[in-house]
Symmetry: C2
Subunit: 199 residues, 2 copies
DNA sequence: ACAGCGGGAGAACGATCGTTCTCCACCGCA
DNA sequence: TGCGGTGGAGAACGATCGTTCTCCCGCTGT
């Protein structure tokens, strides 16, 4: 956090940005992007339209900021679970424990990248690129975890891709069907795939 | 096809409805639902707004018709592939061959149920219900195919759920990342899960 | 105390959308 | 030839949205 000469004023601006990001993330998650008006974000965040547009010059800028922040939050959440794993197998499976706790949140309505790609991926290359980056990041992280095993690199990459399919499928399926045990099903399947690879 | 006293007139109406459904499905797939105006559907289909609103009294009625038709088309496509399988294992894996050919279509931009749920599932219970029905249908069909094996029913249901996760994950991942071998990765993972179950 | 300015509330603006309405050309039938 | 009625093209309407502007309050430095 950087302060300029008028320190507290700067902090207020930063707090306003965070409130805007939180409100927008919540509303986008609940209703999608296009169904949420800037006025609703203003009301939910308590930040005036003038400051809102000072921080994010357009709605698509705000959306991009929300997605980038969500990317960081999700990655950090994954790392929190992965860190508790004793060996590579446990660390990979911990990703699915992260999913289980995420799906159990009352506000869970799916992965914002999958949802926003579905809504705007066809009309916004920015949205498509951020979603692509996020999903490639998950797959890459799984590959990194598997690189710690004695699996050949190519086999690790292939297994990581399959585990990412399970994770993404669990996100979409849990959102749509609401089935409460989706993450556990995915974790069980992931365990079988790890077994088959000898991990 | 039912004809009334003014036979050909009735056929024109039916042809118009099909043109509207085709145009709407294409545009919704390309751009999402809310970004497509009724005027664009009118232009793409060549059916006047008056007849369009005679057939579908509102945009959400049209969306529901598009989704129901897509459900039938997808199910029929799956059956076409499944029918070629010699044994239950081959029939289950044929579902992933269906995915491979689907993903290779130039207009592929993901599963319309996943996409539309992401866009409107939070604001339209109808959309959420149709998406849920479609996804439960896929899972149920997989369970039926596995019921033909000597797997215990509970194990078949669990395996079907895991295979459905792979299929849905492949749809979302192929759409977002554009990776061309996504369906093959999912098929390989499905094969390993079938191996583990002894199918 | 007072000029100046940053910020808040919300009106205003232009565009777009879903839906309806108007107007007119065309067709079957007497 | 005249007539009723169906359907097409597109204007019209009311609502909503993203974005900007106006007006005014309250603070700040002298």
């Amino acid at each position: 956090m950087v302060l300029n000469a008028r320190g507290d004023r700067e902090m207020d601006t930063e707090a306003a940005e965070i409130r805007v990001l939180d409100a927008a993330a919540t509303l986008f998650n609940e209703r999608g992007v296009q169904a949420v008006g800037m006025d609703a974000i203003r009301t939910a965040s308590g930040v005036s339209l003038k400051r809102l547009y000072q921080a994010y010059p357009s709605k698509s800028d705000l959306l991009e900021a929300v997605l980038r922040r969500r990317d960081e939050v999700v990655n950090a959440g994954v790392e929190r679970y992965v860190a508790g794993g004793a060996d590579p197998r446990a660390r990979v499976l911990a990703v699915f424990d992260f999913l289980a706790d995420w799906f159990a949140e009352p506000a869970f309505r799916g992965c914002v990248f999958i949802n926003t790609y579905g809504e705007m991926g066809g009309i916004s290359e920015n949205v498509a690129a951020v979603a692509r980056g996020h999903k490639l990041g998950l797959r890459t992280r799984l590959a990194e975890l598997l690189a710690e095993t004695d699996l050949p690199p190519a086999a690790g990459e292939a297994l990581a891709a399959q585990l990412a399919l399970l994770a993404n499928g669990a996100m979409a399926t849990a959102a749509i069907t609401g089935a409460r045990d989706t993450a556990q099903q995915a974790k069980a399947a992931a365990g079988l795939l790890l077994d088959a690879a000898g991990v």
